[in-house]
Symmetry: C2
Subunit: 386 residues, 2 copies
């Protein structure tokens, strides 16, 4: 985080204008937003304070004019440092009325009677406010119609600006340097939990603001899953270790992984790794403007599973940006047409049997001429430690 | 995270029994839970994968019998390592039906027609599933009644077991050691953003699994707020620097801070720090079994504001455990009666004028005989760097 704002005010105004144009088409008089990335998207309000679930935060985007922040007073100082000027606050937590009446008043002013208020309601969204307050809000505004946002936030956020792409690229570069230093911190005998701690240190040393996500595994000839926390088992010859990180710099994530063989890889592991890289390139080559997310899935799936449809992960990649995972999903059912500026992960996985899997992941951005790597891609040979 | 489970199965069974007893009193036939701490509480399912907002996760606690996990297949391997045996999975994301029908089927089996299903709905809670799926679920079960959980999860989670207290204490000890090493990483001229990176490294070196939360500030004679990210301004003589961390070990947080004067403190800063410590001790001495959260607030508020009611933070402390902040809140309106096993932060703040504040924070646990420190308490003299 530098002193200068991450994005010029013009970029926020352009985001607002695109949203309002889509709202006009959808017949929406306001958007009501409650989560960190949604509010960051329009305001630049960036804080790790979202880790505290206590207080609700609201942003109202009207059909015309600038967004209105309806937030706890603890956030007023930081919000006022950005471009948003209409900031209404209350002292939260307030057990009698935790911002609900304040929010209802703002909506009453900005949305005409009978008007429609859209909330992100589809896949990968949630409403970050208590259910009881959500009911109270609707009760206080019986003449306004609450409903889905018609997918507006999903569509807007899927296409990144050049400034956003630059931030994601920088996060990828930090992770890339950290991955290259893994032989400094991991060797036969090192407990995986120690590797996890030391790898996060590498990420911070290389420039991460923080490391919200680190997963992985290490086990003989492949790991059991990709979401377990690290255990204290020492790395042993024949293990395949995988580290998958979502580190953040200036509010934007990378999300990619690397695999290592502890000692020389078995032929099976070497072949599986090469096939994962082959699948990643197939995804990369398929990921062109006008192709669909489903087509990129099938390009990779043909190589890793012979076209049988992927494994327990349920998908072979996804969007990426202010969140570790964002729409679209690389699954057969996702017919999202790829556009310039979309940032994707390519994440093929192979089932090696006996409860063992291997996964690989890279990050790309869609350009007019095709995909472009954000993470410098791994070669077919698995990295070896020791 | 070690190989051994964090808690014996008996502890989970005891939690389930307490919940079911409270459900019986409240006339609830099931609890439906969707967030990380709620699911961790009953299952021990611990993963950083919650960072991905894509997939919904569900746990159903029936009136009798063990909980049923209704989760994406990507989590089946990890869930099966714990004590939960009834695990229903689907391959998520599924755009046609992302677990909703599977969940509805489980609820139909476990809850009689006309039965009541409780969800955490009050302050500090949210429903972690898409609004549209929430509507679909209710539509699929027109003969079941969805409503609040009668505050059951709030009351259960506020009182920690000895095993939980030990984990919070260990997190506090890690942070304490990291705070003591701050002079190694911060000096006049060090940018605050560098201090933030290095401090997270210290936390990891001292044993944190990860560092989800770090906030703070540094400015002449006091800082502007306590939620902003670090900027690149170098520390200067006369600054007051504050670091406030919520680090995690084995799924449990600490949450306390320390202040430093860069160079000798001004009399105003020295006095303010001493008063914060005095207020913290007043909170500590007031925090006895049978006292209320409000009384602890007033004990501190009398000293920091003369009883005028606190500042923008809205409260002077809160609960702590699987989340950085949990109920209760130390505010005038919180009449929670303190019980043995409650873990609290004491977090008085002082307004120094000209947009400058100072805050101090410690962690305590309630015992039969009074409060006990979890963070070794800071003395009245502010720490000095340089």
């Amino acid at each position: 985080m530098t002193h200068a704002p991450l994005f010029p005010t013009d970029e926020f105004r352009a985001r607002v204008a695109r949203a309002q144009s889509a709202m006009h088409t959808a017949g929406l008089d306001a958007l009501l937003l409650t989560t960190a990335p949604e509010i960051f998207y329009f305001t630049g309000f960036l804080t790790r304070f979202w880790e505290s679930p206590t207080r609700p935060w609201f942003l109202v985007l009207p059909a015309h004019g600038d967004p209105v922040a309806v937030i706890p007073s603890i956030g007023a100082h930081l919000m006022a440092r950005g471009w948003i000027t209409d900031i209404r606050t209350w002292r939260s937590p307030d057990y009698a009325d935790d911002g609900v009446s304040l929010l209802a008043g703002v909506l009453r002013d900005l949305v005409p009677s009978g008007g429609r208020i859209g909330l992100p309601s589809g896949g990968e969204t949630h409403l970050r406010m208590p259910l009881s307050d959500w009911q109270t809000l609707q009760d206080q505004l019986p003449d306004r119609v609450f409903g889905p946002d018609a997918g507006i936030m999903r569509r807007l956020r899927m296409v990144k600006s050049e400034a956003e792409i630059a931030l994601i690229r920088r996060a990828c570069e930090i992770a890339y340097r950290a991955f290259d230093r893994v032989p400094e911190i991991a060797a036969e005998g090192t407990p995986l939990s120690t590797v996890f701690r030391r790898f996060q240190i590498l990420c911070l040393e290389e420039g991460a603001d923080w490391v919200p996500y680190l997963a992985g595994g290490a086990a003989p000839g492949g790991y059991g899953d990709v979401i377990s926390p690290a255990d204290d088992r020492p790395l042993a010859a024949g293990d395949v270790m995988m580290l998958d990180t979502g580190l953040v710099r200036d509010g934007y994530f990378c999300d990619f992984d690397r695999n290592w063989s502890i000692g020389p890889p078995s032929p099976e592991v070497a072949e599986a790794h090469a096939r994962l890289i082959e699948a990643t390139w197939a995804g990369f080559n398929c990921a062109r403007v006008g192709a669909t997310a489903a087509e990129v899935f099938h390009a990779m799936d043909r190589i890793v599973s012979g076209g049988t449809g992927g494994g327990d992960a349920g998908r072979l990649g996804h969007g990426l940006g202010m969140q570790l995972t964002e729409p679209p999903s690389l699954i057969p059912a996702d017919d999202t047409v790829l556009e310039p500026g979309m940032v994707l992960t390519l994440e093929p996985g192979i089932d090696l049997g006996d409860g063992r899997i291997m996964v690989h992941e890279e990050n790309i951005v869609l350009r007019e001429g095709g995909a472009e790597w954000l993470s410098a891609p791994q070669g077919p040979e698995i990295r070896v430690i020791g």
